[in-house]
């Protein structure tokens, strides 16, 4: 079997000038205690698309997102947002981290969490006006959580918590949304809601990059995909890149794919 060369992704995307890409990563390497989590990652995201980052456990997907957003420091490599370094462009990018990183015992209500998304604009001492509260309620409405505005955050179910975090990201009013497993461990209704909101955002011009855990739904929900297993195995539009060969290469031959022979299914 023929295997595409490592870093082929770079060649495929060479046409897209880095200066207009909402999120471009070059040579990014992150390690924990002398073990690399991601190694020499190149990635160029197209504007106005939904890109999935997909790979097995331990592939470094969360690490990649965190390094992109400056949450952890890389050992080597660079990140540019719309052609500029991250520190100048934080207004344009909104992050939805994994639920595991949060302190659920913290005394805060749903509406307070959404307002956290506005803190960057409000600054340290800016007054919170009625208009801000209305904006927060609007964001909660979009994700179907407006009725829960005064609940303590620890009392919600997993799906409800995820929606609140999406509302917080919405409140940031950004151009690029970076989400870490937004659909992990949520109920079907929440999944539908979240995808609908993300697709609305994409249709109005925003760029979505999400680590996605469920291979079965990648082609339904996303436009582009990045296959990651410590390095980028392949990246590009779903139709070109999301092939069985590439998937086997990413998952190390451990994928079991179910094949249904259409003739044998009686309807």
């Amino acid at each position: 079997m023929s295997i595409s060369l490592v870093n082929d992704a770079h060649n495929k995307n060479a046409n897209l000038a880095q200066s207009v890409s909402p999120l471009a990563v070059h040579g990014l390497t992150v390690s924990y205690n002398q073990t690399p989590a991601i190694f020499s990652v190149n990635m160029v995201v197209h504007p106005g698309t939904m890109t999935a980052i997909v790979g097995p456990n331990g592939a470094g997907k969360s690490t990649l997102l965190k390094a992109v957003l400056g949450v952890i420091k890389p050992l080597a490599g660079s990140v540019s947002i719309l052609g500029k370094p991250l520190v100048k462009m934080r207004d344009k990018i909104a992050y939805m981290p994994q639920r595991a990183s949060v302190d659920w015992d913290f005394p805060t209500r749903v509406i307070d969490v959404v307002m956290m998304g506005m803190y960057r604009n409000l600054g340290l001492l800016g007054r919170i006006r009625a208009s801000h509260r209305e904006q927060a309620i609007k964001c909660l409405n979009r994700v179907g959580m407006a009725d829960f505005a005064t609940r303590q955050i620890g009392q919600l179910s997993g799906g409800q918590q995820q929606r609140v975090f999406l509302a917080r990201a919405l409140a940031q009013d950004a151009e690029i949304y970076v989400l870490d497993e937004p659909l992990a461990g949520v109920d079907a209704a929440t999944e539908k809601t979240i995808i609908a909101v993300l697709q609305e955002l994409r249709d109005s011009g925003s760029t979505i990059v999400a680590v996605h855990h469920d291979l079965a739904t990648v082609s339904d929900y996303f436009d582009d995909v990045v296959l990651l297993n410590k390095q980028v195995v392949a990246a590009g539009p779903i139709d070109d890149i999301f092939t069985e060969a590439n998937l086997q290469a990413t998952y190390g031959g451990r994928l079991a794919t179910a094949r249904v022979d259409p003739e044998s299914v009686a309807i």
Binding site: H10, L75, A76
Partner: protein
């Protein structure tokens, strides 16, 4: 000083030195489990919680017409109130939403505050007799009686034998509590035994180093020991040695300088061992880590640089270029040297081999060893190598 170390300085000094050594060994061992169980500062709560018990025991003994200075009685009181403190700690962490750190601090400060109140009551009771109680804050080894030293020795032996007997369940509980439970051990009883041992060591150590510093004897040897080994029984052994040495040397030093209190000197000797371990332990020490880190970073940059060379891509990072130039792999203008070309081709070949291996399930075991740096020849047999090489379509060298 030599005389002190050789126990030639007289009866009392010898007693204190041996007693401190035994205490150090017992504390080092008991403290290891606390440390491995990530509950090091529980010992601080236990030691501060002894104070109300000591004061109360004194009051009770005096009101019964006694001396009020019986070590056994005072230590018994200390043990009871420390046990009460442990119960409160357990209750707070299991029945409320408080974290263990807050519970430790609450028990520590409230019990100690109560103890202070009682000490001031004692102060007003009968001035001459209470002078000994403050000695429990910082330790007072002057005038240590033979009976006291015997008490220390007995307690230390009891602790050591208990620990020896229970070391397997302790180890299980420290490493994987859930597994310990499902294996049939009662986590509650193991914790109970562990805390009981810490309590005995604390109470016994009150006399030598005082309640504020006994924490040091429990924690520091264990922390130092961790730097030297990755095995838990290794940690116990080294902690015992370091603790015993701290006690022995510290007490000897203090005998030579009688104006200085014993407790702080023992603690500082232990701290010196800690600093040495932190800096110079192989593998886990600071020096070793820093060297390994820079070595690793250099290897990563070289590897990425070589791969970039092999694929005809520019090298963006200045650090990479610098390292490659120093390694003789490129010329100052970025063009590859002969050895650079060879190394780049080798790196690319290695990378291709790894891609094949990682994509194929029959090489699953080797695939897990991929870390972006290790050369693949280290993990495959020659037969396997031939098979992998047969699958590479791309040319083997690009220059």
């Amino acid at each position: 000083m030599i005389d002190a170390l050789l126990l030639q300085l007289g009866y009392n000094a010898t007693l204190v030195t041996l007693g401190a050594c035994l205490l150090g060994i017992a504390a080092g061992v008991a403290g290891t489990f606390l440390f491995l169980r990530k509950r090091a500062l529980v010992s601080d709560a236990i030691s501060h919680a002894t104070l109300p018990g000591i004061a109360l025991a004194f009051i009770v003994m005096v009101s019964f017409g006694g001396n009020g200075r019986s070590l056994f009685g005072l230590l018994f009181g200390a043990g009871v109130s420390a046990a009460l403190g442990l119960l409160c700690l357990h209750w707070l962490t299991t029945r409320t939403r408080l974290g263990e750190d807050a519970a430790i601090g609450a028990v520590l400060s409230v019990f100690f505050g109560l103890g202070i109140v009682m000490l001031t009551i004692v102060q007003t009771m009968s001035v001459g007799q209470q002078a000994g109680l403050e000695g429990f804050l910082l330790g007072s080894t002057a005038g240590m009686l033979r009976g006291d030293a015997l008490l220390l020795a007995v307690a230390a032996s009891v602790v050591l034998s208990l620990v020896l007997f229970l070391r397997r369940p302790f180890e299980l509980a420290a490493f994987d509590p859930a597994f310990a439970e499902t294996s049939g051990w009662s986590l509650a009883w193991i914790d109970f035994a562990m805390m009981g041992i810490v309590l005995v060591v604390t109470v016994v150590g009150l006399k030598v180093v005082g309640l504020i510093l006994i924490v040091a004897l429990l924690i520091v040897p264990a922390v130092s020991a961790r730097f030297w080994t990755d095995r838990s029984d290794g940690v116990i052994l080294i902690a015992a040695i370091l603790g015993g040495l701290s006690g022995y040397i510290g007490a000897a030093l203090s005998a030579v300088a009688p104006a200085l209190p014993t407790g702080p000197i023992i603690v500082l000797v232990g701290f010196a061992f800690f600093v040495m371990s932190l800096l110079f332990a192989p593998k886990r020490g600071v020096l070793a880590s820093v060297l390994t880190h820079y070595q690793y970073q250099r290897q990563i940059h070289l590897r990425q640089g070589l791969l970039a060379l092999a694929q005809g891509q520019p090298i963006y990072e200045a650090l990479t270029r610098r390292l490659m130039f120093r390694a003789g792999l490129i010329l100052p203008d970025g063009v590859a040297t002969a050895s650079g070309q060879a190394a780049a081709a080798k790196a690319l070949l290695d990378e291709n081999r790894w891609s094949i291996v990682r994509a194929d399930q029959s090489f699953a075991a080797a695939a897990t060893r991929y870390d972006g740096l290790t050369v693949i020849e280290e993990f495959l047999t020659p037969d396997q190598m031939n098979e992998v090489d047969g699958r590479i379509i791309a040319p083997r060298a690009l220059f």
